[in-house]
Amino acid sequence: MAKPVLEKEGKTVFLLGNEAIARGAIEGGIGFASAYPGTPSTEIIETLAAVAREVGFYVEWSTNEKVALEAAYGAAMSGVRSITAMKHVGVNVAADPLMSSAYTGVKGGFVIVSADDPGMWSSQNEQDNRYYGLHAFIPVFEAYNPNEAKETVRMLFEFSERFEHPVIFRSTTRLSHSRGPVKLGKIPERKTRGTFEKKPDRWTLIPAYSRKLRRKLVEKWENIRRELEEWPFNKFYDYGSKYTIIASGLAYGYVMDALEELNLREKVNILKINTPVPLPHGVVLKALERSEKILVVEELEPIVETEVKKLAFEKGVDLEIHGKDLVPQVGELDLNRVIKAVASFMNIDYKPPEPVTNIDVEIPPRPPTFCPGCPHRATFYILKKAANKLRLKPVYSGDIGCYSLGVLPPFEEQDIIVEMGGSIGVANGLAHTIDQPLIAIIGDSTFFHAGIPGLINAVYNNAPMLVLVLDNRITAMTGHQPHPGTGLRATGEKTIMIDPEKIARAVGVEYTKTVDPYNVDEAQKVLEEALKYVVERKKPALVVMKRACSLLIYREALRRGIENPYYRVIEDKCTACGVCYDFFGCPSIIPKPDGKAYIDPVTCTGCGVCAKVCPFNAIVPGKPASEEWNKLWF
């Protein structure tokens, strides 16, 4: 079975949007790819990493988005086609080199994929990164389905090379994580080695050169805008109506289906726009001149709408233009919202099919939760016990990762979650302004991503805090990508394993320890000692809670046919107190109708932490761990 993403030219395969983007990059002749994982962008580089050796190009997971963008930018300076991919908020981290890349331009085609998350399915905000294009003078391309995404990305390398300019491909959750048929094209030969030509007036942004480049950039921008008049995925469907709907990117699909639903297909003109920034003026003007009423349908911010209104004003075209007055600005678009907007725009009555609701069954909420055996659950439990024992009420400065779930009951040990690395960063301020003890909680991958400068600052400016590195040996939340602490690279090669504790030592943290959260008693002792150190000595301390992600190990065991160990409940000793399932909250522990606990032997990973939690010693090993099972942990 060939990997679908490497199937032959001419074949149609069913691909995830992100796989389609990866195939587009392969067909576009990339020689270099780099990224930091982040939902909904992760599978782009993951897909490329899985086929890099076979096809012959370089792929890396970089330490963060800034480094990833810089690395791909560097490769493109040497004439090698390159791609970098990140989630929308990752672009904030990479914004510095992004802005500069428009000034210097590139030699090899350079595609920056921004995967935005309208609806905030897995993010802290829903910023619209088409604004980055306007801000940085980098053209932004969109697509409405996986096939178009593949084609667009393929063509972007040539486009970028022609203008010697970076380009942004903007995806969203509903494109990146939708699957559809994709017709495959040719996989070409590629260039993986380039040359760097020294040209200080191009590659060094000292003020004297930057001033010249800035002038050129504004000129180039208008050339790019003109070129986009010809972009094949922008299209005006003129049905002779007085009404025109302008749809940007994914919105085109919703508009088409909404018109179908309203029996209005081919009765309203449609201007399909995949190049919102810079918006080509010619195609828009043509649509404006044919219409009396315009509706702009786009997800999130009114970027196309603003430009259309500006253009109408400048050209003195007198017509009615609607957009965010009818299409919601908050949250992702869906068919219901677009049908409602179109019906209102067309002044027609539409009654949607009536959903069935108000059924008399009460169901509990189901937020995402720590997996069975998750070392984070153990850490939060131990941390709570340690703080209680010392009678401390710490402020828990949290971060981005699976452990963000510690915000929810029963733990509630994430008081602040703002952005990657923010746990230590924000604690640097609080340390000088509040009296409670501070605990900054950060994952291993997040520590390497953006935690280290904050840690150095805490030492430099002496900000007392306990930094807990929750080291589960992988970037877990995005689906298990390796990072600098794992000793593995994106394409599977072994490499140096970087130890967070050694980094802390090297930058001058005097109290450092590494402990296994499955080892409940010892871990609690260490946390108590570390907390006392921070409170009494008023200095930063760092403890690494080191234990691999249990989901990773469990899946690996399944794959290799290794049986999992499990714990069991002694019926007679269990008093149905509920501590294990209500306050420890492991999904493998289920209350029976009589309230006594039952441990599901299929999903239990045998971590044994619940045995420590049970006040009546009713939980004991059921099946011991095999040697093969123990060997899986690293």
Binding site: T12, H177, V361, R366, P368, P587
Partner: protein
């Protein structure tokens, strides 16, 4: 457009359950089957944080869809791998929607969560006038050789209804399963598909 655009209605299916139950795999097989028959298809799912044991919905639209999401009240079929999630996603259902549900609750690990009784819940759904076909997919999957194949049993159940009639047949799904899984998983999954198919056919002939 690459695909030949067929003049047929688009069938909307929502697949709901708990993260880890294999909902995304159902969507992949549906899509692979449609692509085999050169029928338009879009499947939408959510990755990342939502997958950690959380509530999951996968939208599958087969026929001639341009956009990936099933509208509220717009599902032709709801495939419910878990009963609480079936209840949660009822806003996608209208009175004509066919519900194929797994007779099973999975308790979320939130403090004090208690689940209602299975039979009572299914009766209440029927009490609303909904067409409900209930099967015990977990047991059927175990009999087929692996409880993990619960999702494929449910897919077999969907195929046994008339929802995809004239579009996709049981054989198309057999082929799609072979295209989706590595060979060592074919036997169990083909058996699971058949068990689910038979169970629902039986229920339908009872009525």
């Amino acid at each position: 457009m690459v695909l030949e655009v067929r003049d047929m209605r688009t069938v909307n299916i929502v697949i709901v359950g708990v993260g880890g139950q294999g909902l995304i795999t159902i969507g992949r097989i549906l899509g692979n089957a449609a692509v085999l028959r050169n029928i338009g298809v879009l499947v939408s799912e959510v990755h990342g944080l939502a997958q950690r044991g959380g509530s999951v919905i996968v939208h599958a639209r087969i026929g001639d869809p341009h956009s990936p999401l099933v509208p509220l009240g717009g599902a032709h079929a709801l495939l419910g791998l878990e009963l609480a999630e079936t209840i949660r996603y009822l806003p996608y259902v209208n009175k004509n929607t066919l519900l194929i549900v797994n007779r099973r609750f999975i308790r979320p690990s939130v403090p004090k969560a208690r689940m209602p009784p299975v039979e009572d819940t299914i009766n209440k759904l029927r009490g609303k006038g909904l067409k409900v076909i209930d099967i015990n997919a977990f047991d059927l999957a175990s009999r087929a050789g692996s409880p993990v194949a619960e999702n494929i049993v449910m897919l077999g159940g969907l195929v046994a209804t008339n929802i995809l009639e004239g579009m996709l047949s049981l054989d198309d799904f057999r082929e799609a399963i072979k295209n989706t899984f590595p060979p060592r998983w074919h036997e169990v999954n083909l058996r699971a598909l058949q068990y689910g198919y038979n169970a629902v056919k039986e229920k339908l002939s009872d009525k």
